[in-house]
Point group: C2
Chain length 347, copies 2
């Protein structure tokens, strides 16, 4: 008897929404039904899925009645507006926005790290921030062996972090600059092509931006400890869709680079990419479209007896967002945390 689920996507037309659709198809998620929800603006559009065209419906109070799992990827305000209504209608919501991530009643899940937390959900499960997910996948296997004490991270974040329009804007900016024209800046406050700037999310009183504080707070929540001290500098770079991160880790005791490498080679969701002879390490263009977080340049920190340095690249839209959400959905299915659509159970 195979189980099947009625899935809804809220925000199907965005970069992450498109990727969710692709992953539901390519991973053959056990679907009983698929409903695509968006704002009124997108009504009339269709999106292809398994050879069919699925019409986009405007989200409203009655949208969630026949949905078992709602994948929400339409931003924080949309999630705040609709997530509880979906829960009330019986859906489990996997929310890709930041709306509920730090809510103590909402599990924040990276399936490679804290899958067991999913069982504690009260209707909403949050998908972490992209930079947080990528870092968590790469460093948790090390943390399991020897506890991480402190992280100093610097990020190299692609345009996709600001959505599909931002990706197009960087390309349009590059075209304009190459033609000697002024680059358009609608999505980003400053030109990103041939330039870069600190992540333009609001700053707190300590001078950290929201993106940096997500890395701090979400990582502590996912790892289930306040004992990891974290600092980060988040920077947008003119790359299309994979994020990179330079990560400095401090442990309480020495951790050899070779031991770390062997652990990461066997770690779920990680691919070690290191050709020391060819000076070939993870690059955004190689991480694009891939499920794994690519990790390389694993080396002893020469400035700290118990330090390790590593470098990672991961597809921001995929593992950084859509894939992690689908993996959470698969976890719900595998652990019977969500019930299949009874009427549609096939024999």
């Amino acid at each position: 008897m195979s189980k099947a689920y009625r899935v809804g996507i809220l925000g199907a037309t965005g970069a992450v929404g498109n990727e969710l659709l692709e992953l539901l198809e390519s991973r053959n998620f056990p679907l009983a039904d698929l409903k695509l929800l968006a704002s009124e603006r997108s009504v009339g559009k269709n999106l292809p899925f398994k050879g069919e065209n699925i019409a986009i419906e405007a989200v409203n109070e009655n949208s969630f009645k026949n949905i078992d799992i709602l994948l929400a990827s339409a931003g924080s305000s949309t999630s705040k507006a609709w997530a509880h209504k979906a829960v009330d209608a019986g859906a489990v919501v996997i929310d890709n926005s930041s709306a509920f991530r730090m809510n103590p009643e909402v599990p924040l899940i990276v399936p490679e790290v804290n899958p067991d937390a999913a069982a504690n959900h009260k209707g909403i499960i949050a998908n972490p921030n992209c930079t947080t997910i990528l870092m968590a996948v790469a460093i948790y296997p090390l943390h399991k062996i020897k506890k991480i004490q402190r992280i100093v991270a610097a990020t190299y974040q692609s345009a996709s972090g600001a959505g599909a329009k931002a990706m197009a804007e960087v390309q349009a900016q590059a075209s304009a600059i190459l033609a000697g024209k002024k680059p358009p800046t609608e999505v980003f406050p400053y030109p990103l092509a041939f330039n870069l700037f600190p992540h333009n999310t609001p700053l707190n009183d300590m001078g950290y931006c929201e993106e940096e504080m997500k890395m701090v707070n979400e990582t502590q929540k996912i790892f289930g400890t306040q004992n990891i001290r974290i600092t980060a500098t988040c920077v947008r770079v003119p790359v299309l869709r994979a994020h990179s991160e330079a990560i400095n880790l401090e442990f309480a005791e020495p951790f050899s680079a070779n031991e770390a490498r062997e652990i990461l080679k066997k770690a779920p969701g990680v691919k070690v990419v290191e050709d020391w002879q060819a000076n070939y390490f993870p690059m955004p263009i190689d991480a694009t479209g891939r499920d794994e977080v690519l990790v390389g340049r694993i080396r002893q920190d020469i400035s700290h007896a118990c330090g390790l340095e590593l470098w990672l690249c991961g597809d921001q839209i995929r593992k950084g967002a859509a894939l992690n959400a689908i993996q959470i959905a698969e976890l719900l299915v595998e652990k019977n945390i969500v019930k299949p659509a009874n009427a549609l159970v096939s024999r």
Copy 2:
């Protein structure tokens, strides 16, 4: 009685060479004569200077006879081949390559940091690596007040670090990619446009690349201490000509961000660029063509009681190379470390 000097530029046709010429003109360096030296390949070319065209001469054994200050910017092997010959002929060589930087007999100078070391020269003075210079200018004013214990740096290095051809290649790559074509890779091993990769200099046994070890070793030499532990991750990004760096500093005692900011506002060669309301901080496009190292996002490190985070951008060709060399030349003049061309002293 004004002093004047006979200056030679070895490698005048490169990106740094061009900038040296521009700076000699714009800063009105007291020239008695200017000789442009290059390989046979460039002979026949002229370069404009103060409204004249100066012919490029092929460098040979007799090139250095009438030169007081030789600015060498043609790479390490050229410097190794000619620097000592220039010294033997009576010139003081300010060498922009890595050839002599770690030689204990050769002062390694950032004029804002260790100008007094210039007096100890034995004919050659080395100009540090670009990433090192930019970091040194920004952090030395803090180190003077409270000693830095450890630095964790991550860099965002522009194409100019690999020369003028590399800058053109990134633009050609961007054009190709936007047209759906394969990007050319002649200077760089991998596409840099819309991509990035760890700095492609040779790696040592510890897994650090040469660029990173330059930041480590040169900073210790310039600051005159082995007691600063330094680690760095150096990364090339698709930016044309200014480098950026995310710098985490650990001190032995707490250092308030406000105190650091006030110190840096008054520091030579530094411009604090921070508009916290507008989320506006140093960017490569703003640092390009400027003399100062732009510093911003100065903040207390929330992961370390004695830590500070800061972000900087600086023109890699200018302060990172040519300007620092010219400032060293100006220092030699100001401190009478090099003798003016006697026959040409004007009254």
